[in-house]
Amino acid sequence: MIEKNNSSGFIEVEHTADRAIKVWSDRLDGLFSQAAAGMYALMDIEVGADPRTSLQIRITGFDSETFLVGFLSELLYLLEKERKAFDKLELRFNNNILEANLEGTAVISQKKEVKAVTFHNLKIRQINGNYETTIVFDV
């Protein structure tokens, strides 16, 4: 399960028309996991307990930001098409490829829609060894 503690987490921040989350973690893969959890939280989804399913995905990119938007966009697509959400994520960055093993369950309900993940002012920063960023979603 994606844990939220002092060293990693997410919080919604104000945006006039769309939605945004600030995300932080002491690891880059942790930042991606928190971003996924934050995005699911914005959509107010409820998942079933079983059965758990797993899936492998590959995202191409050339920096952390393109990987992050590509990864979250893939999760959005899987939510819409497969009605699945993932809470156990293993990520491996390898040059221009991000490989991820996803484990999760079926979505029972979803109250809010996220149309897209944006690059607006997106910058993954490393501050005192911790990663943090703010992601704006079109809703």
Partner: protein, 483 residues
Amino acid sequence: MIALHAFRKISDYEWEIPASLRKSMLASVRVFATRKLLESSLDDLSLEQAINAAALPGLAGPVIIMPDMHQGYGFPIGGVAATRLPDGVISPGAIGYDINCGVRLLASAISFDEAEPFLDDLITALDQNCPSGVGKKGEWNLSGDELDQVCRQGARWALKKGMASEEDLRRSEEEGCMEGADPARVSGRAKERGRSQLGTLGAGNHFLEIDVIEQVFDRTAAQAMGLVEGNLALQIHCGSRGFGHQICTDYVQDFQSVVRRFGINIPDRELVCAPVNSSEGEAYLGAMRAAANYAFANRQILAHQARKAFETVLAGKVRNAFLHQVYDVVHNMAKFETHSINGEQVKVCVHRKGATRAFGPGTPGLPEEYRMIGQPVLVPGSMGTSSWVLLGTQESMEKSYGSTCHGAGRVMSRSRAKKEVNGEKLLERLESQGIHVRAGSLPGLAEEAPEAYKDVDQVVETVCGAGIGRKAAMLRPVAVIKG
């Protein structure tokens, strides 16, 4: 954040941020706002985003900002930018994810007085006929070939299926079909999402609203549009659904490397772009037009479904339950147009994001019946407040690339609206005003509360004061479905 002293006042309704303000700016920013509206917009990133948009290569003139501006992502909502053809850029983020999100207005000969006892039945029937809300699918499950036809034909596809009339098409921007759509430039993933969502409203700020035509300001224009005081009208606000969202997502991601290849520097990665005449720019244009046509077909199908709801509920109760098309306008799109810029006729790619085309009288592209009055512009208010029918003017052609405002414009975040507005009390308040409401959820309703938006009347006064629109009629809501 930009401060008020950075603006040069041109008139009570026009302000300018000179191109000299930032090194990145390649053009000035022209803002249509009263001082009050301008000051209220300094609290968020709208104008910073406008300054960033002024860095798009190939701008032919100022970036225009409408009084309903608010912070978006990359490009502000309420923004218009014209890039010179053929080598200026096209930016998917400056159009938005909901490609051809727009509004259609249908009007009727049904008086409010005779329909009033049946309003609740009407809104229930509309709710049943027009699927809305998160993840809702339509009754169409298109084959690959059918989806390609929708992409190429737009609302004309609906005409062939018996869900439209020639008048519906004639009274739509681009006659409901953008030329040059290329479904081959659309990803398989976008097509997968598009197959099942045609004929659906969606969620968020999308809505169906029954209005009463409260006041007519221009009798000649109202007559041309068939707007009669005291009669019912219907607004449909929606776009290209997951199909358009996926197309924009795909191209914004692709263009991240395209800008590097072309050596384009932009202040915000959401503004990534490509020269219009590059293979990448042409690919996006073909895909964007496919999404635009999907949205035209979508609003046409919803209009057809709405007509069926009106017929079902009002048959035998009113003399004529038909809803005729007034016009269908686009809010998020890039189009090739010719405008007079510094006394020169210039062919440009006009990006409108949260802004409406507002062609003045005599402009080619308007249907015969509207050629003398100018293009109808539909400006929905926030839930529970007035909406407006405006007309394009000669000044909108001269000052704003034939564009004007698109709505009220948000001032409050969704999370704050949910904290400050109780959905249940809002529902009671709207019902006490005689407005019948159907909403996906009460928190969702609270997010769209009138207090989360600017006063649409002030927005309209501003564009009319600036001359980039003129009043034709005002509508009052009596029933609403929120997605």
